[in-house]
């Protein structure tokens, strides 16, 4: 019987017990919330990076598809001189297209030029593809025109943008001039180079200095680099700059694409810019003549 009241007193918690329990609980929840806060910051940054990544991936996919399809339909399709209905060259250039060819040189140089200062097409940051992406389009059958599809890096604020433009092929026309007016933003925040068409982008310059692994020696990374079919000797595919007389836009076989995109805002935890590098390769299968 005497043990009865003593038993009842022990039901529930003493103040000390509660305080200790609460203290431990607060300590653990505090740590957990700090962790949660950090991971939330990470999550926000990551989702920004992912958005850029996704946009660049879609862009890359489209470029690869256009390059794979370059040169369709080849001139064999038509037993006549209808240059707007067949492709003169899978990759167009400027000036004097298609009569006189030009030399491609990655890392600047070469004598394929455009009307824009400091720009070459085909070049490190500019490419004009000639193809008919939708030959079965009911609206233009039976003679659907060939199109010029252009990718060009332009300087925009805050970061440069890869533009895409499509124009119907025009006999005797300069593909550079015809596509220049049709360019619309395609992939934003491209940081492959700080000097875009002679204009220096200060933000990209900062990024390039901060990431020596992505930009070896602080040098720009070409968006487009090329391999050419070398006819002699023996026939092989080599980097266009080493193809000698076969270094011309018509002989391009592969276009290797490297996109370096930055997230629009810096990392919330470190304050550093976040860059993502994507690689792809398009291969021309159509004959070039």
């Amino acid at each position: 019987m005497s043990s009865g009241p003593s038993d009842r007193r022990q039901v529930g918690f003493t103040l000390i017990e509660l305080m200790v329990a609460l203290g431990i609980f607060l300590l653990i929840t505090g740590a957990a919330f700090t962790l949660l806060g950090t991971s939330q910051k990470h999550y926000q940054t990551e989702s920004q990076v992912l958005t850029s990544f996704q946009e660049a991936r879609l862009g890359l996919d489209q470029i690869v598809r256009d390059v794979n399809d370059a040169g369709y339909p080849p001139p064999t399709f038509l037993n006549s001189s209808s240059p707007t209905l067949s492709v003169s060259s899978p990759f167009a250039w400027s000036p004097s297209y298609p009569t006189t060819s030009c030399q491609i040189a990655t890392g600047g140089g070469g004598n394929c030029t455009t009307a824009t200062a400091g720009d070459t097409a085909p070049g490190d940051f500019d490419l004009i593809i000639e193809t008919n992406p939708n030959p079965q389009d009911p609206s233009c059958l039976p003679n659907c025109p060939v199109q010029w599809i252009r990718y060009q890096l332009q300087n925009t604020t805050p970061l440069p943008t890869l533009m895409r433009g499509v124009s119907n092929k025009f006999t005797g026309g300069d593909p550079d001039a015809y596509t220049a007016g049709a360019l619309v933003p395609f992939v934003q925040n491209i940081v492959n180079t700080q000097v875009v068409q002679t204009v220096t982008n200060p933000l990209v310059a900062q990024y390039q200095a901060a990431y020596p692994v992505i930009f070896p020696g602080g040098a720009p990374v070409p968006i487009f680099s090329y391999t050419c079919d070398n006819s002699f000797p023996p026939p092989q595919t080599v980097a266009c700059s080493g193809a000698g007389a076969d270094n011309s836009p018509a002989n391009i076989r592969d276009v290797i694409i490297t996109l370096i995109v930055a997230a629009p805002l810096p990392d919330r935890t470190t304050g550093q810019a976040r860059l993502v590098m994507l690689n792809g390769r398009g291969r021309r299968i159509n004959p070039n003549k």
């Binding site: 957990a32 939330q40 991936r57 001139p75 037993n79 939708n134 059958l141 159509n286 004959p287």
Partner: protein, 514 residues
């Protein structure tokens, strides 16, 4: 009492531990889920690109398999694996609207692309051919199984490429949406042909253009349709201006020719025959063509060890062609690049590289067993001419069959007129054609003999061919009245059928957006 205290103490501790554990578990779960969500998005984005690339190459592998198997010398050629029920025989054009499918079920559900309610229907056919009034693929279409569904690959249980089907069909101006001949009409019923430079509506322009359309789908649903247009590319042969072209040079002791003396039925005729042996009425070609003017007299009257065309009486009757009888002419238009040892030998090498079969070296019996097997299995037949090469001598003595296609002999060809050949016979290398036998056989098509290699087998340097020889009376001790058989008859039809091909050229590639 002791028991009661123990129970109460336990209960208190259990409550706190449970509460704290639940809270901690909850917090850790939230963090973990957040991390999983973030990395999950990244994985699926990278996966998207990977599957787009994978499905592209899967579809491309289907195109390449079909392109490879269209070539008759491929060990898995459609002609070999599906001789009767798949594509029409070589040389026969595909009809517009007819479809043939290479299918790759790979252990899965049956593939019937012509059925629009099937798992993998061919909806692209309608896009291309409804305007040409072909509403659907042939139902059911002839099919061939992919190499991944045939032994030996099937037995290895390798995971093959994930393409499902490849459609093979003819194309027209209308289906391609082009006006090939610029007549402002998109023809929907005439198949297109390839003349080596352009497309053409004319069957005589060259081989037919075939369309290959490949469909691939991955288990995650990524799919791709890609398309080739292909046509066989012929190996460039020298032109055949004569039934028998005997090539020599002005520098070396030139050609020699000996006819089978007592046989007055032996003829060398430049009059063009069709593939059934009837005259075509086309302008006649040369009977015996040479490329050095002094060789005309050598062939007619003998010289350089040859007896010429004897007896004299057959000169007026058995050697007819575009000129006066006997029609032995200097072929002035014969291209210079085929008049040098290196030029002609390059042709021989190209044929060797692309031959359908190589006749084994060895005894006459070994060689003839090989040839007889081709005839008895119908691998070589009028509808399936072959390009055969003998790297060295070929002895046909005692072989009693008919061959079809192109025969290249780099050594000495010992002919026996119990055998016949329809097509092209090239004796380029040692340049010697001998016969000492009698029979009723003949060669229909064209024969070309040239010496590009010296007796040790090395290519003759310089631009002058060696002395080639045709001797139909190589054993003068035995001279039956039917020595040498019926002779050599020009046939453009057989020359065309015997043209060797180097492979199917990709004329265009196109990815179909879906």
């Amino acid at each position: 009492m002791r028991d009661g205290r123990q129970i109460q103490t336990k209960r208190t501790e259990e409550g706190i531990a449970l509460l704290i554990s639940i809270f901690i578990l909850l917090l850790i779960s939230i963090v973990a889920i957040a991390l999983i969500v973030a990395s999950g998005t990244e994985t699926s984005l990278a996966g998207n690109y990977r599957s787009a690339t994978a499905v592209y190459y899967a579809a491309l592998s289907g195109l390449e398999e079909a392109r490879g198997r269209l070539l008759s010398k491929n060990p898995d050629a459609f002609k070999t694996t599906n001789p009767s029920n798949f594509l029409p025989p070589p040389g026969t054009a595909l009809n517009m609207g007819d479809t043939y499918y290479l299918i790759n079920p790979d252990g899965g559900a049956p593939i019937t692309p012509w059925d629009s309610s099937s798992t993998y229907p061919d909806n692209q056919f309608g896009v291309e051919f409804v305007p040409s009034s072909f509403s659907a693929p042939t139902n059911p279409s002839p099919t061939a199984l992919s190499v991944w569904n045939r032994n030996p690959l099937q037995a290895l249980n390798l995971p093959g490429p994930l393409y499902k089907w490849v459609r093979i069909n003819a194309v027209s101006e209308k289906s391609l949406g082009v006006d090939a001949d610029a007549d402002s009409l998109a023809d929907s019923t005439t198949p297109l042909y390839y003349d080596g430079v352009h497309f053409s509506n004319s069957p005589s322009a060259g081989p037919q253009v075939l369309e290959l359309t490949s469909f691939a789908i991955l288990p995650n649903g990524s799919q791709k349709l890609v398309q080739y247009l292909v046509a066989p590319v012929p190996i460039g042969l020298p032109p055949f201006f004569a039934a028998l072209s005997l090539l020599g040079s002005s520098l070396n002791t030139s050609v020699s020719y000996t006819s089978p003396l007592p046989n007055t039925n032996f003829k060398v005729m430049g009059i063009d025959q069709d593939c059934s042996g009837n005259p075509t009425g086309n302008p006649p070609r040369v009977a015996i063509g040479v490329i050095v003017s002094t060789d005309v007299g050598t062939v007619e009257s003998g010289g350089n060890g040859g007896a010429g065309i004897v007896p004299f009486s057959v000169q007026a009757t058995n050697y007819k062609g575009s000129g006066s009888n006997p029609d032995v002419e200097n072929m002035l238009a014969f291209p210079l690049n085929y008049q040098s040892p290196s030029g002609l030998d390059a042709v021989a090498q190209a044929i060797i590289q692309n031959a359908d079969g190589v006749i084994p070296s060895g005894s006459a019996g070994t060689q003839q067993t090989y040839l007889s097997a081709l005839v008895s299995s119908s691998a070589m037949s009028p509808t399936s001419p072959m390009t055969l090469v003998a790297n060295g001598d070929l002895n046909l003595t005692g072989w009693h069959h008919t061959g079809y296609g192109l025969l290249l002999v780099t050594g000495t060809l010992t002919y026996d007129p119990d055998a016949s050949w329809n097509g092209i016979v090239l004796v380029i290398g040692q340049g010697v054609l001998l016969n000492s036998k009698s029979g009723a056989g003949e060669i229909v098509g064209a024969v070309m003999v040239a010496k590009t290699r010296d007796s040790s087998g090395s290519l003759i340097t310089g631009s002058y061919l060696g002395a080639s020889a045709v001797n139909y009376n190589s054993n003068s001790a035995s001279s039956p009245s039917d020595l040498g058989g019926q002779g050599i008859y020009y046939s453009n039809c057989w020359i065309q059928r015997a043209q060797p091909t180097a492979g199917n050229k990709i004329l265009s590639f196109h990815e179909i957006s879906q």
